[in-house]
């Protein structure tokens, strides 16, 4: 059903009504009733956050480029809008046609962070779709999820029909085709799930049974359906130049965090930072070519009118032809007053000429991420930068005119001691004092470390909330003396909850559902995060969150995500974990020998650099 009229009536009463009107430049409006497969593409957060995520445009573009399929966007309503929707009996609707989400064939969520899980459930609830997958009927869409958190979707397993592991461009098209065949066949709901379960990268949670031991550990995970493989292997695009990229991305009307066009230089990262999930789940590295990127930039510029282009990837200065690319792009962009931004600068290959070249039109701040305060701890996490690298980078930046620096650190890393915390202080202080006419302004941001699945630290215990808070307190005291250093930190309980959900299993379903029903949503927002709601939900479900966050695992333990594979072998991650404990570094396979992580052979893919060796 279409709710356009009802929605227009409540728009004058909400904050930022433009969040709900759609119709932006380059949005796509296909005929809902004339399209075979309709998909509501959901991001479990509000409009501004959703539209700042470039991957969303890829999904939107992939589905809409299929002639008999359409994708329409749906985001979490802000609290004021949710209240009005309840009052006026308006179910969750898509932006493209103000159509009820429940009318769609597929409802796909992208899971970018664990704290969005309550919003996923709330959006299902607001759509009037049964929360649990087993309760859904032919009247309901199939609910699917993808994105980085899908590599351990177990906390949401009860609520979703199927999961997509890895890159979506190809498998999404296969899913749509499967859906069209299934629809024509007139077969039962389960037969669609049987069919998609056979596609590589698709995981149907209800086709697996999980059993537990007395002590709470998993005893086994077994497929209970003939079309379910033992291990589901992720999907990967082998050659980036061969898949299409959204050349007409939607241009939001209202301000979103990153208002610029985005070029995706490459996927994957081989640096091997041991805390970083993205560094393992997106392997191997595959680069796009310079001519391809330049032609994309020109077309996107003409189709959007943006005045900035962001060179995105997990570590953009690692792009093998980065100088060539920036020079070529500037040739196209400078006459149009379009500037380039390079979001992820590394300290070890920080190159002031490159930074200046990038900021030809507009100058931005400088953000660097040493991650840890001492060399020992940086070796533990395999972040191969030295404090000298940092000082050299900052000194040359100061010389070139930069006046403020942002430094990112993590606290609570495995093996961390008081000395490492002091190290953060010393590093920041010394950085500030590199200024030639008195200290420069430095902003120090610390995040509590969250051990993630599919990383060498997936077995590690997280610091307790008390430990994290005492470290924050120590730093706060140290920095208080220096006016020119600004110290920020994340709420420790947020990191704790993140850790519980990140490595959780199916037994968390009741907790998430109860927290959501009690009012938890948009938990990643400081102003909405309410630990009380979660604490109550844990108590009511008889679940100890510390079991998930603060417990050290052994290698023999069956992890909730062991039957899902990103290509990197579990043995390799364990070996890397042991290396971490010894503070032994592992060098990037682009500069050295193969490290035998398993990604290339398992995925039948290879590292693809645009500039050869």
């Amino acid at each position: 059903m279409n709710y356009n009229e009802k929605i227009l009536r409540i728009l004058p009463l909400v904050q930022r009504p433009a969040r709900y009107i759609g119709n932006e430049v380059n949005s796509i409006h296909k005929d809902f009733n004339q399209t075979e497969t309709t998909m509501a593409l959901a991001f479990p957060d509000i409009y501004e956050i959703a539209m700042a995520y470039p991957g969303f445009q890829i999904l939107y573009n992939t589905v809409n480029s299929q002639p008999q399929a359409l994708a329409a966007r749906v985001f979490a309503p802000a609290l004021d809008m949710e209240r009005l929707m309840n009052q006026h009996q308006i179910p969750l609707f898509t932006l493209e046609n103000h159509q009820a989400v429940r009318d769609y064939d597929l409802l796909g969520f992208t899971l970018q962070y664990e704290l969005s899980y309550t919003s996923v459930l709330n959006m299902i609830r607001l759509s009037n779709i049964p929360l649990r997958a087993k309760d859904r009927t032919d009247e309901d869409p199939f609910i699917m999820v993808g994105g980085p958190c899908a590599f351990n979707p177990e906390p949401l397993a009860e609520f979703i029909d199927f999961v997509v592991l890895g890159e979506a461009e190809e498998v999404l098209v296969e899913i749509i085709k499967t859906h069209q065949q299934w629809k024509k066949s007139g077969e039962a709901r389960e037969s669609f799930l049987e069919k998609v379960a056979k596609l590589q990268g698709v995981y149907v949670p209800s086709f697996y049974q999980v059993s537990y031991q007395q002590n709470g550990l998993i005893s086994e995970v077994v497929p209970i359906h003939k079309s379910a493989p033992e291990v589901v292997l992720k999907r990967v695009i082998k050659e980036m130049d061969k898949v299409s990229y959204p050349l007409k991305p939607i241009v939001p009307y209202i301000e979103v965090p990153h208002e610029r066009m985005v070029l995706e230089l490459f996927r994957g990262c081989l640096r091997g930072c041991r805390f970083c999930q993205a560094g393992f789940i997106y392997r191997p590295v595959r680069e796009r070519s310079v001519p391809n990127l330049c032609s994309q930039a020109e077309q996107i510029m003409n189709n959007t009118g943006y005045d900035e282009v962001s060179l995105m990837s997990l570590s953009s200065t690692d792009y093998s032809a980065v100088h060539e690319l920036v020079a070529e792009l500037n040739r196209i962009l400078v006459p149009e007053n379009v500037s380039i931004s390079l979001p992820s600068l590394r300290i070890d290959n920080y190159d002031i000429e490159l930074a200046q070249e990038v900021q030809k039109v507009r100058k931005r701040g400088l953000t660097l991420a040493p991650e840890a305060g001492t060399q020992r701890l940086r070796d533990v996490i395999n972040k191969q930068v030295t404090s000298e690298d940092l000082y050299t980078a900052v000194s040359s930046a100061i010389e070139a005119g930069w006046k403020r620096v942002k430094l990112y650190f993590m606290i609570g890393l495995p093996t961390e001691t008081a000395e490492d915390i002091d190290g953060i202080y010393e590093l920041a202080l010394k950085t500030a004092n590199l200024g030639r006419h008195g200290p420069i302004n430095v902003t120090v941001s610390t995040a509590g470390f969250v051990p993630k699945p599919n990383t060498p630290f997936q077995w590690a215990a997280q610091n307790t909330v008390q430990e994290l808070e005492s470290k924050q307190h120590q730093l706060k005291g140290l920095f208080r003396r220096h006016r020119y250093i600004k110290f920020n930190y994340h709420e420790a309980r947020v990191s704790f909850l993140e850790a519980v959900l990140a490595r959780g299993d199916r037994r968390l379903a009741d907790v998430i559902e109860q927290a959501m029903l009690a009012g938890a949503r948009l938990d990643s927002w400081d102003e909405h995060f309410d630990w009380q709601l979660w604490q109550q939900a844990f108590e009511d479900s008889g679940i100890d969150p510390a079991f998930y966050a603060s417990r050290q695992r052994s290698y023999s333990e069956i992890l909730p995500w062991d039957h899902l594979s990103c290509g990197v072998d579990k043995e390799y991650l364990w070996k890397e974990y042991l290396n971490a404990l010894e503070a032994a570094v592992t060098v990037d396979c682009r500069q050295n020998n193969c490290t035998f992580c398993g990604a290339c052979p398992n995925l039948q893919a290879e590292v693809l650099l645009t500039k050869g060796e």
Binding site: L11, N23, Y306, E336, N337
Partner: protein
């Protein structure tokens, strides 16, 4: 080269804030490949300016935008290529080439005329409101100014009130840098004076006017009267 563009902001576009509209126009100019001029300096920005901001939720059939171009374009050509790339809800009405000596839009415009509708309006209610308000010297409304709540006297900011189409109110309000009353503030005034609560209302800005040698003129009239010899004008059909 300096141009003024008259356009509408209607339909869903009334939910786009002034600030966001600025970006919409910037990007539209870029997509249309209109040779917009940029400021010099560290952080160059496009030389586009607007008439007085329209409140969120209020539509308009008469907005103005001033642009500087690096090359001379025929007014017809500018109107055509700009309209082609504008999102729905924005319609170009006319384009004028204006000389350097013309005033700045934002500084010159002083009044807006708004047509306000509400189910709560009746001819009788409007008539007694207009009668009552003329007897009052001071009507206080609250206004946020730099995040601080300030009391302002709304009375001198209301220039004229007329009843049109039987039960609609046409209000000429001060709209500009030297004094500004938003429609929502005017509704507050209405509620205070009439004692009638207005739950739902809608409004459209139908005119923008500036004071020129004692006369209230629209920007189009200003150009026709004083500057057209040096400029040019095109009305979009």
């Amino acid at each position: 080269m300096r141009y003024w563009i008259k356009f509408t902001k209607e339909g869903l576009q009334k939910y786009i804030s002034h600030r966001d509209m600025l970006k919409v126009m910037n990007r539209t100019m870029k997509r249309a490949r209109i040779p917009i001029a940029f400021s010099q300096g560290f952080n160059p920005h496009a030389l586009i300016s607007f008439s007085t901001p329209l409140e969120l939720g209020v539509a308009s059939i008469t907005e103005f935008m001033g642009v500087h171009l690096t090359q001379e374009l025929e007014t017809e050509e500018l109107a055509r290529s700009f309209q082609l790339h504008l999102p729905p809800g924005f319609v170009i009405i006319s384009v004028m080439k204006v000389p350097r000596t013309a005033p700045k839009l934002m500084a010159w415009i002083g009044f807006g005329v708004y047509q306000i509708k509400s189910d709560a309006f009746t001819a009788g209610l409007l008539k007694s409101f207009i009668g009552d308000i003329s007897k009052q010297e001071e009507i206080t409304v609250l206004k946020y100014s730099k995040k601080k709540l300030k009391k302002i006297n709304a009375k001198p900011l209301i220039k004229q009130l007329d009843i049109v189409n039987g039960n609609e109110l046409q209000a000429t309000l001060q709209t500009g840098q030297s004094g500004n009353l938003k429609v929502s503030q005017f509704i507050e005034v209405f509620e205070q004076v009439s004692g009638q609560k207005i739950e739902e209302w809608s409004a459209t800005r139908i005119k923008l006017l500036g004071l020129e040698q004692g006369d209230l003129l629209s920007p189009v009239a200003l150009i026709h009267q004083n500057y057209l010899k040096e400029g040019s004008f095109c009305q979009v059909k």
